[in-house]
Symmetry: C2
Subunit: 248 residues, 2 copies
Amino acid sequence: TIADAIMEALRPAPQPLRGLRALVTAGPTHEPIDPVRYIANRSSGRQGYAIADALARAGAEVTLVSGPTTLPPPAGIALRRVETAVQMLAACEAALPCDIAICTAAVADWRVAQAGTRKIKKTPGAPPPTLALVPNPDILAHLSRPGPLRPRLVIGFAAETDDVRDNATAKRQRKGCDWIIANDVRAETGIMGGDENEITLITATGSEHWPRMSKDAVAAGLVRRIAATFATTPDIAPDDIPPDGVPA
Amino acid sequence: TIADAIMEALRPAPQPLRGLRALVTAGPTHEPIDPVRYIANRSSGRQGYAIADALARAGAEVTLVSGPTTLPPPAGIALRRVETAVQMLAACEAALPCDIAICTAAVADWRVAQAGTRKIKKTPGAPPPTLALVPNPDILAHLSRPGPLRPRLVIGFAAETDDVRDNATAKRQRKGCDWIIANDVRAETGIMGGDENEITLITATGSEHWPRMSKDAVAAGLVRRIAATFATTPDIAPDDIPPDGVPA
């Protein structure tokens, strides 16, 4: 009946992740070279913001740790803005314990070894400077490390330009995370910075390719998968969360 | 009388730069490291966009060559979007001849010698890469070079963190431009990326310090100075422009 349809439309959205805490990282990091210059990357943060929004709509308590982006923050989440990988790691650690961690941020692999406190001057006739780099902390590997604060489900993203599935599968094992979402960020795909994504979800038991769709649709699909996993895997069921967020 | 006041308010804004062509560069440049990473700087483009807007309101025909920014383009100007310094130079050359060139862009001094066509992978255990840099074209010096296409008034910006006035004065002579606008971009000033600016205008005959004000007010003041210069200097008066834009 029409009345049923109205009641159905007015029913609150299901909140399968109610009672769960989620951490999402998003955006690029900016690694300073000197006070005005920095190393950046083309991540817009859109996929991570979409996931944070979808998690919050599904009832999770979400902390979004975001590098520099121009996106409006989703409603009902706690936003922590950072600039560098080192700052992002600290903000992630401050957000623990949590049940779900989704690392979408394109964290710079390296930072400049000696960032100048003064603007590096161009000296006429002198050769250009050389930028020596040092490794940044690996936030995904850090969150995936076994221990009492390890989130029960850790999901990483792999931005690849070549051998997308193979590189991402290797990354999943190297990092120790549970799932990896691989995407092809070659410039011609328009995915990095764009509105759409085309992903391969890689778990311990296999991989599945999702057709190209909006980043919002990827986020909604991912949240459905997360909810199904928490509903069907007894030791990570939502009803089973002790006060410290760590499963028995 | 009230009628006079109304007539005054309804009078069209004066257009002292009517008939003049202006080129403005704005924003940062992004210099690719590989398909996803790049070197950037903290320029927001606000000062350049404000100047392009003020020039257009004063009647000039404005081309704005802009690096990546998130700003809405001013009304009534021709916008040319670029990413790298090499692209910015090409877009500037395409905008010649012009009467006034104002280089506000924070053009990267260097670019990566060999930008990768594939994402540079982090190899576990291997040392981080080193970025060898090569000099970018010097757009301000290029536009200032004597010749038939030299704009009649070339204005550069100097973003400095130390010895602001001395560095900017030396830059004016080295580049061959007519005026330099020096500003102090130390992080604690909040000028780079902010809404306000505090400048020192350096000409062939001296320097003057302007108090801190909005970037729109700096733009309006600068346009007044430009209009006064064109009005009082016979050989660059607006009435004196031959069809090729080059004064006799």
